[in-house]
């Protein structure tokens, strides 16, 4: 069982928990928390799909410079995407909290 499968299972479980929270809770703050858990699951799935078996994180060090970099790192693009997307979602969560406050 490699890391890709573990990340996918964890992410899908978190997505289900978050969706359950969004659909069944009455308190609006709890709905926002469910939304946040849902997004965490999405991020884990996105990073997990970029995993290449047995490779290291995309940070170049002396160890990697001696070998071929392309064949020894995982995909950096989903990680960069999550880096940006996370912030975007965070601002929407804050906006949702303002809605709670206003209601």
């Amino acid at each position: 069982m490699d890391f890709g499968i573990i990340a996918l299972i964890t992410g899908f479980l978190l997505i289900l928990v978050g969706l359950w929270g969004i659909l069944t809770q009455k308190n609006i703050v709890k709905i926002v928390i469910g939304f946040s858990i849902f997004n965490t699951g999405l991020h884990i799935v996105m990073v997990g799909t970029g995993y290449v078996k047995g490779n290291a994180a995309p940070i170049i060090n002396e160890n990697l410079l001696q070998k071929n970099i392309v064949n020894n790192i995982v995909d950096p693009v989903p990680q960069a995407l999550v880096n940006c997307y996370c912030n975007w979602i965070r601002s929407y969560c804050v906006n949702a909290c303002v809605y709670c406050e206003a209601l």
Partner: protein
């Protein structure tokens, strides 16, 4: 009851869908075209050890500017909606306990230091401007919890945020004039690979993003705390 049954059926359907997805997953054995390009060229082009940081700040720098703009927009909308109530009304909040006070005075400085470390080393280790800014904002949360009666001047945060935002766009425009394009990091020399003063403009941009995000989140949280007086 019907609603709960409906939710249950929906979740069971999703579980079935996800199990199919997991069964079909069989890993990737090599990087795709884009990722291979970034992996091969980022060391020479950008000079940053952290490829994710190189992608976020330089290759896709315009998108990061968009992210910062979205965050700025949400902060602006929040300060529009949560109007500052009259400060004359006294809120009688109990002072926090001695334990919380002395623990927070030690912890807050460490949290701020860690945030600064994360965005200063964004081009070498995992992290970057956004993450460091969020850590600094979490330090401000602790400050607001331990000293609930203290009036915070929000003007300082607004000034820091505006200056760093302008400087970020200014660096981008300088990139057009002095280097290859908008937000190009080769304005400064790339330096020795893997040291703190390397990767051209990336550390400066990370510092600016970190300050801007930290100030924005702190401003939002202070607005929240001040608007509690309404209820």
């Amino acid at each position: 009851m019907v609603k709960k049954l409906f939710v249950f059926i929906l979740l069971i359907g999703l579980v079935y869908f996800f199990i199919n997805l997991i069964m079909e997953y069989n890993g990737n054995n090599s990087l795709n075209f884009t990722a291979a390009y970034y992996a091969e060229n980022s060391a020479e082009d950008v000079g940053a050890a952290n490829i994710v940081s190189a992608v976020v700040v330089t290759y896709r720098g315009l998108d990061t500017l968009g992210e910062v703009t979205i965050l700025f927009l949400s902060a602006a909308v929040i300060s529009f909606f949560l109007k500052n109530q009259n400060n004359s009304s006294n809120r009688n909040i109990r002072e926090s306990s001695e334990l919380l006070n002395s623990a927070s005075s030690i912890l807050i400085s460490i949290i701020f230091l860690f945030g600064v470390y994360v965005f200063l080393n964004g081009h070498l280790t995992p992290g970057g401007g956004f993450q460091g800014g969020a850590i600094i904002a979490s330090g401000v949360v602790l400050l607001l919890i331990t000293k609930p009666n203290k009036k915070v001047n929000i003007l300082v945060f607004t000034i820091i945020e505006s200056i760093s935002g302008f400087a970020y766009v200014g660096i981008g425009v300088f990139g057009i004039i002095l280097a290859g394009g908008f937000l190009d990091n080769r304005i400064l020399p790339l330096g020795e690979f893997g040291t703190l003063l390397s990767a051209g403009m990336i550390p400066v941009i990370n510092i600016l993003i970190g300050l801007k995000v930290g100030a924005e989140f702190s401003g939002i949280l202070i607005k929240f705390q001040q608007s509690q007086e309404e209820h």
